[in-house]
Each structure stands twice: as structure tokens, then as C-alpha cells.
């Protein structure tokens, strides 16, 4: 499991700092509302969010292609708002690779080196090393169009790394690949990051991708970072209803906080009382959303095993090989999903029957009403 590389203390430990950054394109609406984000050296930080959440805009501001409307971005403690993109020394992998179609793979890789007026022999050597790194040693003479999507992707990554930038930005680089290749590339990029000690800021809307690769994930919505945490924390301990819903599969129940008891609270859902972990509630008498992961529910629990036991009606069962998804109608939510491992001794349910479902209090998080 990855450990979050949180660096404490001095601000100078951070490679990138966003300080109160705001961005508006039209002067009417803020695309990025108030961004504060630090990226430590060697860290893999992913900006995750639905389209229009402001994540790509943040990346473009960091790369220098969009000016920040307000606030300051620091690269190694140097404010870079007024530094043009070609002087920032940041490597970037673009959504559609942006490989120059009129140049060969080797010429593409040599481009950033020749720009730096490097000697021809050195360029050649570095290009070959970069090609070896992405296992395309024999492809230097080909044009990008003669490569497969995955190969193009690797060239794009190699090109962003060949001039040894301190920081690498990746803007949905795997979006155009098919599922298998995407998974393979996720591991390759992750390994490159670990092997070379790169600092990466990665943008994606694919949560699996974010969970696989990142040290920390910043979940964006509506121009705000909703939560910035390690993949485990993001999944296990979402701060609010948006994150709970965006990361992984999630069941929601809407209710009203009846009473708060220390870390826990009692929530009333149309008369049924439920015990939940009070994470992000407005207080007694206020509406709340309960978040329950489908794999944290027990079917027909023994009496007394769970603090919460509620009866629901089986609506549908979907066989998925290693597990079975069962759709319930529970406390007024007819999209309530339970995942049951396909293991020997698993109960078999019939559609239409009433079944007791149970869960632990700490697996049921009381979040904002949203």
C-alpha cells in the first residue's frame, strides 16, 4: 500500500504550492474558487473530478498556459505567475499525446534537448536512453502515426521525462486507450514514478486510475477541493457526500439527526432509528446523508452482531462471478446495493423476499445533507 508522502513543517519542503488561487474565464463565474494545494518533492498527486470541476484548469495554470486570475503559484518557492511556460521547466503529457506528426519518434524526443542546445551526441544518447526506458528502443525511426496507441502514449511520457524536469504534469494521458492497455499503462507510469523519484501532478476523471497510482488525491468539484487525502482515506473515510459518491460504489440514505452521542449519532430515517459515525453533520435536528459501502453490509446477521439491523426487499440479483450484486429496497432507497462474495456457504436469496441487513456503526458515515 502506498504511504502518503506528507511533508511537514517548513513550506520550503514543497515543490509546488498553490496559494489562494482563483480562476475565472468570463468574469462572471469562478472555475477555480480558492485553491490551496501543496505538492511535495517525489509525490504523485492526482487531481480527480468530473468534467468542469476545474482540475484541468489548475493543471494549465501550473503549466503556464492559463494565467491565474488571483493568487500565486510557487515552484520551489519561486512565484511563477509571470514566468512563461517555456521557462518553467515542467514536463507535460497531453491528453492526445501531442506527438509532432511530422517528426520521427527520435526527433520528438530530441526536441526538448535540441531546444536546450545540447550537443548532438548527448541528444542521441539521451534519446536512446529514454527509448530504452519505455521499451521502444527499436522505434526511434518511426513516425508517431506508425505506432499503436499504447506506444504513442509511452513516447509521450518519455518525451516529457527526457529533459529531466523537476515536475511532470499529466493531463488525462490514458483517456484514449482501451481498458486493458490503460491498466497496464497505469502500472508503468506508477513504476516510472517510483523508479525515477518523479514529482507528478496527474489529472483524471477516472477514480480507479487515481486510486491505483497516487500518493494523494485531490477530489475536485465545483472549483473546490472537496477532499485531499490518500487513496485509502478517501475511500474509507470520505469527508462529504460528494466524495463518498464519487469514489467507489456507495449507498446513500437520507435522514435527520436525532441526537449526537460523542463520535456517533442517531439518525431518524422515516421513523427507523439508525446508529452512524458523525463525520460531517450540521447538528441535532438537521438533515444528513448516510453513506454505506456495498461490501460493508451483512445479510441476515446473527442477532446482536450488528448495532443496526434493517429489513429490506430483494429486487434484483446480478451474478458477477467473484461476487453477486443484490439490489434492495431499503428505507425508501430502491437502488440500495449489497455486494456478497461468491463463497461457499453464501446465502441464496430469492427476488421479492424480505431480508435483514446489518452494518457496523463506523461503516455508516453521517455526512452533509447535499
Amino acid at each position: 500500500m502506498t504511504t502518503p508522502t506528507t511533508v511537514h513543517g517548513d513550506k520550503t519542503d514543497y515543490l509546488v504550492r498553490f496559494e489562494n488561487v482563483q480562476k475565472s474565464y468570463d468574469g462572471d463565474t469562478l472555475v477555480v474558487k480558492n485553491l490551496n494545494l501543496n505538492v511535495a518533492k517525489g509525490e504523485f498527486v492526482t487531481m480527480l473530478g468530473p468534467s468542469g470541476s476545474g482540475k484541468t484548469t489548475c493543471l494549465m495554470m501550473l503549466a503556464g498556459f492559463e494565467p491565474a486570475t488571483n493568487g500565486e503559484i510557487y515552484l520551489k518557492d519561486r512565484p511563477i505567475n509571470d514566468v512563461p511556460p517555456h521557462k518553467r521547466g515542467i514536463g507535460m503529457v497531453f491528453q492526445n499525446y501531442a506527438l509532432f506528426p511530422h517528426m520521427t519518434v527520435a526527433e520528438n524526443l530530441g526536441f526538448p534537448l535540441e531546444t536546450r542546445k545540447m550537443a548532438k551526441s548527448e541528444v542521441k544518447e539521451k534519446v536512446q536512453r529514454a527509448l530504452d526506458m519505455v521499451e521502444l528502443s527499436q522505434f526511434g525511426g518511426r513516425r508517431p502515426a506508425q505506432l499503436s496507441g499504447g506506444q504513442q502514449q509511452r513516447v509521450a511520457v518519455a518525451r516529457a521525462l527526457v529533459f529531466d524536469p523537476e515536475l511532470v504534469l499529466m493531463d488525462e494521458p490514458l483517456g484514449a486507450l482501451d481498458k486493458n492497455l490503460r491498466e497496464q499503462m497505469q502500472y508503468e507510469i506508477k513504476h516510472l514514478h517510483e523508479k525515477l523519484g518523479l514529482t507528478v501532478v496527474y489529472v483524471t476523471h477516472d477514480q480507479t486510475e487515481a486510486l491505483t497510482m497516487s500518493n494523494r488525491i485531490a477530489v475536485f468539484d465545483d472549483g473546490i477541493i472537496q477532499q485531499l487525502a490518500s487513496p485509502e482515506d478517501l475511500y474509507e473515510k470520505p469527508d462529504n457526500a460528494f466524495v463518498a459518491g464519487f469514489i467507489g460504489e456507495n449507498n446513500t440514505l437520507k435522514g435527520v439527526v436525532e441526537s449526537v452521542e460523542g463520535d456517533n449519532c442517531t439518525v431518524d430515517i422515516d421513523g427507523t432509528k439508525v446508529q452512524a459515525l458523525a463525520v460531517n453533520i450540521a447538528g441535532q435536528g438537521k438533515p444528513t446523508t448516510l453513506s454505506l459501502r456495498p461490501e460493508r453490509l451483512y445479510i441476515r446477521p446473527e442477532a446482536g452482531k450488528c448495532p443496526n439491523i434493517v429489513s429490506g426487499k430483494v429486487l434484483e440479483q446480478i451474478y458477477l462471478g467473484d461476487h453477486i450484486r443484490i439490489r434492495f429496497d431499503l428505507l425508501g432507497n430502491d437502488e440500495f446495493i449489497v455486494k456478497v462474495k461468491n463463497a461457499p456457504g453464501s446465502d441464496h436469496l430469492t427476488v421479492g423476499e424480505m431480508v435483514d441487513l446489518g452494518w457496523e456503526t463506523e461503516d455508516c458515515r453521517a455526512l452533509d445533507a447535499s
Partner: protein
Amino acid sequence: MTTASNTQSTLVTKEGKSLKEAITQANKAARNRALLLVMPLLIFLILTFVMPIIYMLIQAASNEEIPNYLPNTVEAIASWDESQSANGLPDEAVYAAMHKDLVAGRENRTIGKAAGVINRSVPGTRGQLIKSAKKAKKMEPPFKEALIADNPKWAELPFWRFIQRESGAFTINYFLKAVDRAYDKEGNIVQAKESNRVYLKIFLRTIIMSILITGMCVLLAYPVAYLLSISSVKKANLLMILVLLPFWTSLLVRTSAWMVLLGQQGVINETLIAIGLIDDSSRLSLIYNATGTFIAMVHILLPFMILPLYSVMKTINPSYLRAATSMGSHPFRAWWKVYFPLTLPGMAAGVILVFILAIGYYITPALLGGAEGIFISNLIADNMKGTTANFKIAMALASILLIGVLLLYWVFNKLVGVDRLKFG
């Protein structure tokens, strides 16, 4: 991939037929239908385009007059070799044939025409032919002596050389004239007299002007096309209408508009005088010279450059430039190394379009060019009508223009590759 298809080329169908044959047969109906669809256009093009061009090429080179008027002489003179005979003159057989033709020519009243044709190339022979034809009937063999006795000009070599040279079905005479060349008395090809040299100069001017016009079009069209390609759809559409507006106006109207603008008393001159930049005595001559042709043709041909450039620029992903700058390239270097090379197919298409259109342009040089701004097309037109018309020279000039354009196209194909062009 390729090796796989190579090994498959020997495959056969179940019945043992070659697979390729089977495919050809299976697609036959579709191919015939397609052929049927293009047939009307094909016939139309053959009748109205290909045939006239072939006719033109044949006309420019064909030679009916001498073989028609002097059939016997033409036949007899074929074996004449100047270096074989004593004084170089043809032998009796040729003179006899000529005598026969003179007699026949007088009877058919064609001798005058023949004399005219020959006289044009060998001056002073009109009288020789007509007068000798008159007396020909009474002449006795040997005709060599008889004809020379009648007129000593019959013993002059240039005349016979001309007859022999022009006795074939084809002649390069008109092509020579079209490039300011002529035969001297010995039958060598030399430059025409200085006063007769017109065409080569105009050919050269046409090419140079066309190059200048094409170059100017590139310079003007490139930024416009770029602006179009980065504008929002709404703005780009408006700009595109402005670009295309000249297309929707009659060529004649546009050319006349330039007359109003560029004339001695035109808008530009009057404005410059009004704001005091020039005084009345030094009005600019912007029209009836090469300048007028240049300005108006650049304007008229500009859309042909903008459109292919625009269509190529629109497909260039803006992230190419971003990628280049992110790798540390100065924006100008990024543009020069990445953007510019990618626009070359469009630029090449625009260049060949504008250049080929310019080189054959007629109306604008005719109306705005005056004496020193005319193009070769204007000379072709001049040779097709009016008192000084020489249809054959017009054909020769047009053929040279056509062949020249095809040659340029071939060179262009070798250099750039026509399959790489993007016209739109």
C-alpha cells in the same frame, strides 16, 4: 501485415478459381454502376475539354499548306541531300515535280496561296512562283534549266531548303515563332530579329509576375488563415464570408472596381494628394502597368491561398504548440519547428493553385495591365482575333503554356508529392 497478404495472393476459392479473380468478378456490378454514374461527365469532359486540347496541339504542329499545294515536289524532294550533289541543288526530278505542281497550281488557282505561305518564310519568292507558274505550261524539259533560265532564283538554296523542311505533315515552325526563334538562310535555328521578339519576354514576365503574385498571396493569406483557424466558430464564419465575398462578385466588377481605385484620377491617388503625401504632378501610376495587374490579381487569387491553408490549420491540434513550449521551446521556435511544417501541405496546395491560375490569367491583365502588364494569355487572345491574327501561333503559344504548366506540376509532384497536398 504485408507478408501475410503476399502469401495469401496465391489463395484459391473452393472451385479452384484465383481469389483475386473472384473478387474482381464479385465487385463487377458495383464497378459498372459507378462507371455508369460518371459516364455523362466523362463524355462531357472528353468532348469539351480533352478533344479541343488534342485538336489544339495537333493544329499547332500540323502543316497542311506546302504538302497540299505542292504534292509532287514534296514527294520528290524527300530524297534530296544537299551535300551529295555538285552545287547543292536538287536534281532534275525535283524540278520536274515542281513544274508539274506549278502547272496544276495555276489551273486550280492555288499557286497564289502557296506563294503567300512560302513568301512569309522566304521573302521575295512570291513573284518567282507566280510568274514561273504562268509560263510553266510552255516550258520544255529539262525543267531544271528551264526554270533557272526563267528566274535565277530557282537556283537559290534557301528556297529548296524551306520546301524540304516544311514538306512533312508536322512542323515546329509555329513553336519556334512562339519562343522568338526562326530559321536563318542556312536552315539553322536562331534567335528572331530583335524587332520580332515578343513572346519570350512576355512568357518570362508571366512567370515572374505569377511567382510574385503567389509569394504575396502566401504572405497575406497565412496570417488571415491562422486568424480564421483560431477564431470561434461565429467569428470564423463571418471572416470566411469576407474572404469568400470576392468569389460572389463578378470578376469584371471586381476588376472595374480596381480601375476606380487605382486610376490616375482614382481614389488612392486623390486621397494621397488630399492628405498631402504626394503632389498633383507626381500621381502614382498604379494602373495600366505591371503594378495594376499585380495588385488586382493578388486580391482575386487570395482566397485560393487562404482556403487550403485554413483547412490545414484547422486540423492542427493546439496542444502541439503547447507541448513544444512546455518542453522549453521559445514560442517562435515552437511555431517554426512544429506549426509551420504542419501547414506546408496546405501552403503547397495554395501555391500550386494560385500559380497555375495566375499563369493563365487573362481578363485582369487585359483590363489593368496596359502594355507592360499583359500576360501570355493576352497574346494568345490577340493571335486569335483581329487583323494580325495568326491562329497557328495562338495554338502554339497555348500549347507551350499547357505543357509548361504540366511540367511545373510534375516538378512540384516530385518535390512535394501531390498526394500530400490538402486542398480543402
